[in-house]
Symmetry: C2
Subunit: 300 residues, 2 copies
C-alpha cells in the first residue's frame, strides 16, 4: 500500500464516480480503476460497490475513508515537521552562558524574541563560567555558549563569534580617598590595590587590562580574585580595592561602590557565541542570528 492508493481512494470516495475522480487526479479512468482494484486486493475486501450510476462505499470503504484521510494528513504533518525543524522553528537548544549575558540584557532580549517569534523552540539555560562551558561542550551537554571570548583551550573545534562589546569602567569604594574624584587616568592608579576576575573567565580582557596598566608604567597589584561580577563589586564596596567591570553592571547599584569612566581606558568586555564547529543546527543558527540582532540594537 502506498500513499498514492490512499489519495486515489479518497478522491473516488468523495466523487463516488471513477471518471470524475480521475479527472480531479489528472489521470485517466482505467489506471484509476486498476489502482483501486489493487488496493482492494491488498486490503482483502471491496471498498466500493459498483452500481449503475457510479459507485457506493461498502462498510469497509466507509471505515477506511476517515482513516485514509488521517494517514494522508499525518504524512503532511511529518513533512511540515521536518521543514519546520530545518528552518529552526522547532527543536531544542541548550545554552550555556556567563553572568554578563544576563546583566548586559542580551540574553533576556533573545529569550523574549524566541518566546514571541519561535514559541515551539525549547530552550534550556545553564549559567556556566567559560571553563565549565568548554567541559559542557566536550560532553555534549550544551549546543551553544555565550562567553567572553575563546576559552583557554579552544583550538579549532569551537567556533567563536563576537556578538557584543561594552566598555569597561572602574569600580571605586566610596570610602576610597579617590572616591570624590571625577576624572581618572590609569597612570594615577599605579599604587592602588585591585580586585580582579580570574583570568580564565575572560582571558583577552584580562590580558588587555594588564597590558594597559603595563604601558601606563605599572603592574596592577591584585589583592583578591573574585569569580562573578556582583561578588567583585561587593568586594570593591567593602573597600578591598579597585575593580574593572563592564559598564552594564552600573545599573545594579551596590552601596559602598561607585563607578567611574576612565578617559584613557579603552578596554572592552566582549560577549561571544560559541559552538562546536562542523555541527549544523538550524535552531542554533536562529539563536545566533537573534543574538546578533539584539546586540546590534543594544549597541546603537
Amino acid at each position: 500500500m502506498e500513499l498514492r492508493h490512499l489519495r486515489y481512494f479518497v478522491a473516488v470516495a468523495e466523487e463516488l464516480h471513477f471518471g470524475r475522480a480521475a479527472t480531479r487526479l489528472r489521470i485517466a479512468q482505467p489506471p484509476l480503476s486498476r489502482q483501486i482494484r489493487d488496493l482492494e486486493r491488498e486490503i482483502g475486501t471491496p471498498l466500493f460497490e459498483r452500481v449503475p450510476r457510479g459507485v457506493e462505499l461498502t462498510a469497509a470503504g466507509s471505515a477506511f475513508l476517515p482513516e485514509a484521510r488521517l494517514t494522508l494528513a499525518q504524512a503532511e504533518r511529518a513533512q511540515r515537521s521536518a521543514q519546520r525543524a530545518a528552518g529552526g522553528e522547532t527543536g531544542r537548544l541548550r545554552v550555556g552562558f556567563v553572568e554578563a549575558a544576563t546583566h548586559s540584557g542580551i540574553l533576556p532580549d533573545v529569550l523574549g524574541f524566541f518566546r514571541q517569534h519561535l514559541p515551539s523552540v525549547g530552550l534550556s539555560l545553564f549559567e556556566l563560567d567559560p571553563v565549565r562551558q568548554a567541559d559542557a561542550f566536550r560532553d555534549g551537554r550544551i549546543d551553544l555558549g555565550i562567553l567572553h571570548g575563546p576559552p583557554l583551550d579552544a583550538d579549532r573545534w569551537l567556533r567563536v563569534e563576537t556578538i557584543y562589546t561594552e566598555p569597561v569602567v572602574l569600580a571605586v569604594p566610596r570610602s576610597h580617598r579617590l572616591a570624590g574624584r571625577v576624572r581618572f587616568t590609569l597612570g594615577g592608579l599605579a599604587t592602588e590595590s585591585f580586585v580582579m576576575f580570574p583570568r580564565a573567565v575572560a582571558p583577552a580582557m584580562y590580558d588587555d587590562l594588564v597590558a594597559r596598566c603595563r604601558s601606563a608604567g605599572f603592574s596592577p597589584r591584585i589583592v583578591q580574585e573574585a569569580a562573578g561580577w556582583h561578588t567583585l563589586v561587593s568586594l570593591v564596596g567593602a573597600g578591598v580595592g579597585l575593580g574593572f567591570v563592564p559598564r552594564s553592571l552600573t545599573t545594579a547599584q551596590q552601596h559602598g561602590a561607585a563607578y567611574r569612566t576612565m578617559r584613557d581606558l579603552s578596554v572592552h568586555m566582549t560577549l561571544a557565541a560559541a559552538w562546536k564547529s562542523g555541527e549544523r543546527s538550524p535552531v542554533r543558527e536562529r539563536f545566533v542570528m537573534a543574538l546578533r540582532a539584539v546586540a546590534g540594537a543594544r549597541s546603537r
Copy 2:
C-alpha cells in the same frame, strides 16, 4: 512522497547505516540511497548528515522520524479498520424487532453475544410492529428486521429468512368454564369468543389459525383485536375471550389467564430476519448468523 519513502527512511534512521538498512529492507544500497535522496529533495532539506562511519540524523530528520512512524502506523490502522469492518467486527446496525423477539429470548441472547464477542459493533434497537418495520426499511431507518414472516406488501425487495419457530398455545381465562379442563381440541372451541392479534402482525400465523379452525368446522368469533401479546393475554385474563399465543409467553404469568397446550393445534409462531435484498452488510450478516445460532440452541 510515498509510504515507501517513509519505510526506507525509518530503516535508515534506525540503523544509521545505509548498507545495513538496505539489507534489512532486502534491497541493494544504491537504490536506497536514491530513494532517500528523492525524499530529502521533496521535503526540501537533508534528513541525514553523512559522516565517515555512516550517517546521523539532522535536526529535520529527528523531527521527521516520529512523525514518519506515526504515518506508517496510521496506514496500518486504516487497513485493519477496513478489514474489521469487512469482517463485520465493527460498524453499526439498526435493528427493528417485534415484541416476541424479546420474550422468546432470541434477541437478548444475540445482544449478549454481540456485547461479548463483537463489542465494537454499535447496535440500535427499535421495537416496531411489522408494518412499521416495512416503513422503516423503505425509509432506510433500519438495516435488519425481526418479525413474524414476510410483511403483507413485501415482494422481492425484502429478503426474509425464518429463524425460529415456537408452538402456539391457548390462553384461557381462569374464570372460564373450560379453565379446569386439561385436554383441549379445536373442535371443542367452535362456540367460543376469541381475542386475536391483527392479521398484519403475523399474516401467515393468522391465516394458519383461521384455516385450522375452519377445518375443525367453525369460523372463530373474534370479539376483540389486540396488538401486543401481553395486552392480548391481559384481555384474556379479563375474561374477554380465548386467545392463541406463542408458548414463550407462558413464562410471563398473567393472573387471570392460564395456558393450555392443544394436541391437535400444530400452528407455530415464527420469527424471521428480514433485510433489503441486494445490500451487503457484514455486520448484518454477522447478526443473522448469531440469530441462527441462538435460535438453534434454543430449539434444542
